[in-house]
Amino acid sequence: MEDTGTVVAFWALAIITIGSAFMVAAVRNLIHAVVFLVLSFLGVAGLYITLSADFVGVVQILIYSGAIAILVIFAIVLTPQAGRDNAETSMRLPAVVLSGLVATMLGYASIDTNWSISDRPGFEETASAIGVALLDKYILPFEIAAALMLVAMLGAIIIVRDEGTEGAAED
């Protein structure tokens, strides 16, 4: 991928994504952390588009920065007295060391191994290919994912529902 457009795009998006991910850890107020999280989701979506994965990029925007960010915001809003600070636990130093080690290990692995790079150009359009793959090659995982979504939705609703309002559901 040598045309300058994608290179510039990659570096810009990489900086945005990693910068905002770092800000999520560094910023004090939890609401600001969520906003930076959304920014990093959008950065990752941009990276997908530079990898010519347009369907997944748009799905990322729709699901991550559209739905999951709202879930996180609702969690923060529904826990008012819990303090909105983004403080760290006492395990701060070992966490830094461990994640640094993980980062170097992954980095070394990715640079050292010779991936069998194929000289295939980017995909023209992926939406129909994904659709076809989902429905004939991965039909079983597709159904399982559907069942899992249903179970997760019901579980979340039942956990959070106030015990006292069974009868009041339809008032």
């Binding site: 991928m1 040598e2 994608t6 990489a14 990693i18 991910a21 999520v24 850890a25 939890l30 952390a33 969520v34 999280l37 990093s40 989701f41 990752v44 990276l47 997908y48 990898l51 994965a53 990322q60 991550y64 999951i68 879930l71 996180v72 969690a75 826990t79 819990a82 303090g83 983004n86 403080a87 760290e88 636990t89 701060r92 070992p94 966490a95 461990l98 994640s99 993980v102 980062a103 992954l106 980095g107 990715s110 640079i111 790079i117 194929s118 290919a129 793959a133 989902l134 991965y138 995982p141 994912a145 899992l148 979504m149 179970v151 997760a152 939705m153 579980g155 979340a156 956990i159 959070v160």
Partner: protein, 104 residues
């Protein structure tokens, strides 16, 4: 100056590390959850990078995996936040340190 697989993997590794740090070090349960979401994103990024660069007979599988990861991550986020609200309702705090009793 061209961009190839190693660049994307490095970005994925750094993102994963930040997500791990968040999950380990944050006091607030929602902060931990943000870390987990970041880790999911890092994994997705490397999957898409592989499906774009690496030799394979059906490269679209990387995209299918990411679609599955996104759906499962959404479901997991919903359940995790339900737990966060429940934890807050029971123990009046979402501080990960304070929730150390298995049965209350």
């Amino acid at each position: 100056m061209s961009v190839d697989l190693e660049h994307y993997l490095m970005v994925g590794a750094i993102l994963f590390a930040i997500g791990l740090y968040l999950a380990l070090a944050k006091r607030n349960f929602v902060g931990v959850l943000m870390g987990i979401e970041l880790m999911f994103n890092a994994a997705n990024l490397t999957l898409i990078a592989f499906s774009r660069f690496v030799e394979s007979e059906s490269p679209i599988d990387g995209h299918v995996f990411v679609v599955f990861v996104v759906t499962v991550a959404a479901a997991e986020a919903a359940v995790a936040l339900a737990i966060a609200v429940l934890l807050y309702r029971v123990r009046d705090t979402v501080d990960v340190d304070k929730a150390n009793l298995l049965k209350w």
